[in-house]
Symmetry: C2
Subunit: 353 residues, 2 copies
């Protein structure tokens, strides 16, 4: 039992990644009950829905679990840019015999300014709260700490990790270049050294004096063992859980994950407006070669992205989905969450022996 696990109150060095839109309260509860740290992501829902999700996890487990928030800078809607992006996507909607949206909405609120979510979270006080894309205000973090929450935050480079350490966060999630889903860059327009999980984990462990959680491309017990050899206190796995029955991934996403597409994930900004790693599909192909400045900002682009995916899905075409996956995708399994965790720990023990 290392200090990080003690702090988190869990037995196993495994964090089931939050994966807003894919993980579920059932998955988080199963992961936590199995001894790992289960997570839900509430970046895509409002305070009431988030509270309901928290209550669902609590109804299913008495173990600690993690609630993940998106802390990007307040969105900057720009009608001209959004219109340009709609125009760019219009032929795709046309091909699907669907009307493109007439305008794009700010479909999510950043936690940074969502006072209802802040108040709800401090009141609900889940055992662990994690931040992605940045940090909330010092007073919100203080409120959560006072409520007894252990805090985590993602970093993709040393600068972000140092900001996280300075803010008094309990541990940093080192999100490697391999990781599926949204890249946690604080400034999506800043330089990105694209550090791989191997290098990033080791660099952060060597440079920082608080616990590091390795993330990106970790899919099995040998990967967890390797992460711990690099000095991480735990490994965070997302893609490994996408195909679990508790996941809300649709059949197209699951089929793509078990196809050759798993060998070809790509970092795309086209689906949501922020860089995210996705199984290469028709939507990521649209984004190839498009300058990020042409794509609507986050989360307005995601409004278009969801409309396009829905239009396609209505015709049985899953090729436009936000099929987030990390580079380890070919090693995905479709076991139930609890069983997957047992297998992961068996593999971990075998790797260490």
């Amino acid at each position: 039992m290392n200090p990080l696990l003690e702090k988190l109150g869990v037995r196993l060095p495994i964090i089931q990644a939050p994966m807003a839109g894919t993980s579920t309260p059932a998955m988080a509860a199963a992961a936590s009950s199995a001894g790992a740290l289960g997570s839900i992501g509430v970046g895509a829902v409002d305070a009431a829905a988030a509270r309901a999700m928290i209550d669902q996890v609590r109804a299913a487990t008495d173990r600690p679990f993690n609630v993940n928030l998106f802390c990007y800078p307040p969105a900057t809607p720009d009608a001209a840019r959004e219109a340009g992006w709609i125009a760019r996507l219009a032929p795709e909607f046309g091909r699907l015999e669907a009307a493109p949206p007439t305008a794009l909405c700010e479909i999510y609120k950043t936690f940074v300014t969502d006072e209802a979510m802040q108040a709800m979270l401090i009141e609900a006080a889940p055992a662990v709260v994690s931040f992605h894309f940045g940090l909330p205000s010092a007073s919100v973090m203080a409120g959560l700490k006072q409520a007894g929450c252990v805090l985590l935050a993602s970093a993709t480079n040393l600068e972000e990790a140092r900001a996280i350490e300075r803010a008094g966060i309990d541990a940093v999630v080192a999100q490697g270049w391999e990781a599926g889903g949204h890249r946690g860059l604080f400034d999506q327009h800043g330089p990105d050294p694209r550090l791989g999980a191997f290098a990033l984990t080791r660099l952060l462990v060597r440079e920082l004096s608080f616990p590091v959680i390795a993330a990106g491309g970790i899919m099995d017990g040998a990967g967890i063992a390797a992460a711990l050899e690099l000095g991480a206190g735990a490994a965070q796995l997302g893609t490994a859980f996408v195909a679990c029955p508790e996941s809300s991934a649709d059949e197209g996403y699951r089929a793509a994950l078990f196809s050759d597409a798993a060998w070809n994930t790509t970092m795309t900004t086209a689906i949501s407006g922020r860089p995210a790693r996705c199984l290469a599909n028709r939507f990521t192909a649209i984004g190839d070669g498009v300058a990020p400045s042409e794509i609507a900002g986050y989360p307005m682009a995601y409004d278009a992205g969801k409309a396009l995916a829905a239009a396609a899905k209505a015709r049985g075409d899953y090729g436009y989905g936000a099929q987030w996956a990390g580079q380890g995708a070919p090693l995905a399994r479709s076991l139930p969450t609890a069983e997957l965790i047992t297998v992961l720990m068996d593999e971990f023990a075998a790797a260490r022996a």
Copy 2:
């Protein structure tokens, strides 16, 4: 002692990477004498010079060592494209008060067609021969095997690794996205999934039935231990050796390696005509945003690159050098090669304990 190390005839799970132009016969001999596999890269010299290098290593150690060859497709000089690239670099030469080259030469020969090098190598028969950028002909590989050479080759993805396995190569070097220097892509114009070392190593170990050597971002004993947990038979470290006294890195390269630039490596095609990871410097900045099709092909672009670096260096400006480095660069040390290997193994033992 795992099967790979037995085959290589070495005691330690460390390969000092070839690094043509940076490693030296003295470094290779020191690494091999210390129990690792030392390497020289002869991709930038002709058969006679390569033979002299091999003889130098042999004069200094009786242990096995590795000779690395560049196996890219025969170069395709294109006067118009080269003229375009010279024109593009002309203002840089102007700033350095130097004349740009009037034409670019094919400064190296690929091993694939270099019959003198092939004959020399079969005759010299070093214990280990490794290939980068592809493979030579079946008959050359057969000749080397018959001469008793153990063969290695780099892969950046599964497809390349399978081609290497099919060719009967003894082990594959899984070159992760983090790795410094030239990316070993067989087809530099093909799609590149940019697999991080963590994901790539584990994927190849899981998918292939011959030994895997992990490379990319590995800088210390914990990294070596992690690579072995992922199932690799050994770890290949390049950047870790760049600052050793036996290295031919110039003072500018060493200074950059120990500066903040180490935190910001970048994949650039501008220096040589093939993608390679370099400490961000004035030269990599030139390449930012330039379409690969505008840059002269390899190795013609390298002719321009070397001329530009030389013109700058003549004025005491090291900012245009081919300062290859991997993402683990901030963990570089300037210990003598043999001492570094002792430290790496001490760290390895500590990580495993």
